[in-house]
Symmetry: C2
Subunit: 384 residues, 2 copies
């Protein structure tokens, strides 16, 4: 196991009816900016529950945060928060709303051009306090310190990490996920699955606790994901997915182990160029990424084959290839496509993504920094 | 899964050489009281590392905190801290030192008789900040909010839980555990194992993530525990045990699931009456406790048999009995006795423990509050 330092101060408040707990979490005197997405929270009752819990607070609203939240949109929230003296942010939504709210939290008190937080890793002196009501389990953003923001004008999708934007609390009520469209349920399961893989399928460092936890999350997602599609009213299944997706990226399973994230870097470029949903971009890239790098990842791939898919590691390459095929089949079972041609994309997309990777200096990726631009090109070609 | 609220704000700083990180964690201006146990830290280099890291701080010392830390001893530390204006506590030791330091943290600013914190659950208005350097992985106390304190004069062993005494940080350097006597290594592994069992072997609530995590910790302890005895210089093994013991009782695996803790209640009385090491008292009680309650715990026992011991759950009672026998054999493999007669105790001990349980109103124990005093008596008789 490698050395690490880990702290997760976000309070998780899990279960049905827990949105009412907002009253205990948000200071009565706070001027709250409630940030949300396309407005589904007004149909499914979440909006009303939040407003009821915050009765007594001055609450402003900023809706319309899009998937892959954009700098352009978010700067509107920054202007509103500054003009109205907002001193508390409440993100009500999925990973995009929460990521966007993290950027707003850091940008409101920022002196200078807030894009520098992403483009120049400018230091963040302070940030507004932030709480979350999660409506779409997927990214784990509700209890980590990271955010990914897109600048439409320049086709940049960049991330930042800062403890000052870690949410103070996250309310996880599986009830609110029952109204999600199946596509979002699928995306969430696949996103969480790939988050685990990025922290697990690298090389062994004798870290059995982390390995068992990662395998436990993968097994849960494989078991519960299809159930969520088949039994859309099953709230227990939704709860299990919500908790698994949270733990997939709250930092715990990544403690003391190498991490990859090459699949994410390629996926980000596919999303920014072609608008492919984040999770779907990962499903496109991951199988080929594992196949191309199967020598470097051999030991962990054999372990994955055995402990997640029940294969015999003595079968060597066959076990590895079968495990990758089963991974792909799982994505398809979750109704998520696994080839670029499913999106009517061909070789021109390979060139375009590689140009973006070069522009963003993503030319040494992966846990060993050995995924060159040429290898990324091969991965994309294998995903055609 | 049941509803829950969970937050663990303790920063874990893991790995070799990390004691030097104290410099970044403890404010330079703090007057620190360093609390420790029997003085082994002066032999193994930990004391010197701590003192070097805190150069520049005013550091006072309070040694001699015994296993099962006593109110009588700890009140000496309270008096010292009050007299010297101590404003920061640093626990350097295992669960007993850390538990004791939590009591001191709460007792120093407490108005009135500090024993009331335990005996009357008196509210804690404030506590001194507390950090830990862990030297004995076992209890998980380094990153939870609980402590167990013994009052020798009255033979009471009582616990309290309070977020105000949760350590701010815990330094886990496996290097410092290499000098532990084998008995303490064994005790630590068994203690952590039983902590997991108390949160896992109850009844199913459809919580696969928690179940996989608990099983992962049990499997790790079963695999690494004997290795720690056989390869006492293997620091990777020590690191895995240290991390497993921490996660066994940092609150995570107990989120949203029923919890038992009956074995602990009986064990506490055995310790206070006969001075049996905490972990050893648990090993005495657990096998009989599981056997007597095998109907109420049937589903989880079958799951345990299958997923932890690789048995076939179709074998029903035989699988359950084999799993319990394997649990007992694991304790013995860790050189921990499993009968009262190993301690030259007989029926008189059964009576004495039951009298203590009655005195402490421990007459409805377990996840269903159905473990009566009569059942506790049977458990102890089965452990003769």
């Amino acid at each position: 196991m490698l050395n690490f330092s880990y702290c997760n101060p976000t309070r998780i408040i899990f279960g049905q009816g827990q949105i009412a707990q907002l009253r205990q979490q948000v200071p009565q005197a706070a001027t709250v900016l409630m940030l949300y997405g396309g407005g589904s929270i007004k149909q499914n009752g979440v909006y009303d529950q939040v407003k009821a819990a915050l009765e007594g607070n001055r609450v402003l609203e900023f809706g319309g945060i899009e998937p892959n939240p954009s700098y352009e949109t978010l700067m509107g929230a920054v202007a509103l928060a500054r003009a109205e003296g907002v001193d508390y942010l409440l993100a009500v939504g999925g990973g995009s709303v929460i990521d966007g709210s993290k950027f707003v939290a850091a940008a409101v008190p920022f002196v200078g051009e807030p894009w520098d937080i992403l483009a120049k890793r400018a230091p963040i002196e302070s940030a507004l306090p932030l709480g979350c009501v999660l409506t779409l389990p997927a990214t784990g953003s509700e209890s980590n310190n990271g955010a990914v923001i897109t600048r439409k004008a320049t086709q940049d999708k960049l991330s930042f990490l800062n403890d000052k934007v870690q949410p103070l609390f996250a309310i996880l009520d599986p009830q609110v996920t029952l109204s999600l469209p199946p596509k979002q349920v699928s995306n969430g399961v696949v996103d969480a699955f790939v988050h685990v893989v990025e922290q697990y399928l690298t090389y062994p460092v004798n870290a059995p606790v982390q390995d068992r936890f990662a395998e436990g999350l993968l097994l849960t997602l494989i078991e519960e994901g299809p159930k969520a599609l088949a039994e859309p009213e099953n709230i227990e299944v939704r709860g299990n997915i919500m908790w698994a997706a949270n733990l997939a990226l709250n930092g715990l399973i990544g403690c003391g182990v190498p991490q990859d994230w090459a699949t994410h870097m390629l996926g980000h470029e596919l999303t920014v160029l072609y608008g492919i949903d984040h999770a779907r971009s990962l499903a496109l890239v991951l199988p080929a990424m594992l196949t191309l790098r199967k020598q470097g990842k051999r030991d962990k791939l054999l372990q994955y084959a055995q402990r997640v898919w029940g294969l015999d590691p003595a079968d060597g390459d066959i076990a590895i290839e079968t495990a990758i095929a089963k991974t792909k089949a799982f994505f398809q079972q979750m109704q998520v496509p696994v080839t670029l041609s499913d999106y009517q994309l061909g070789c021109e997309a390979v060139d375009a993504v590689c140009a973006q990777l070069e522009k963003h200096r993503m030319t040494k990726l992966g846990e060993k920094r050995d995924v060159t631009l040429e290898m990324s090109r091969q991965v994309l070609q294998m995903s055609l």
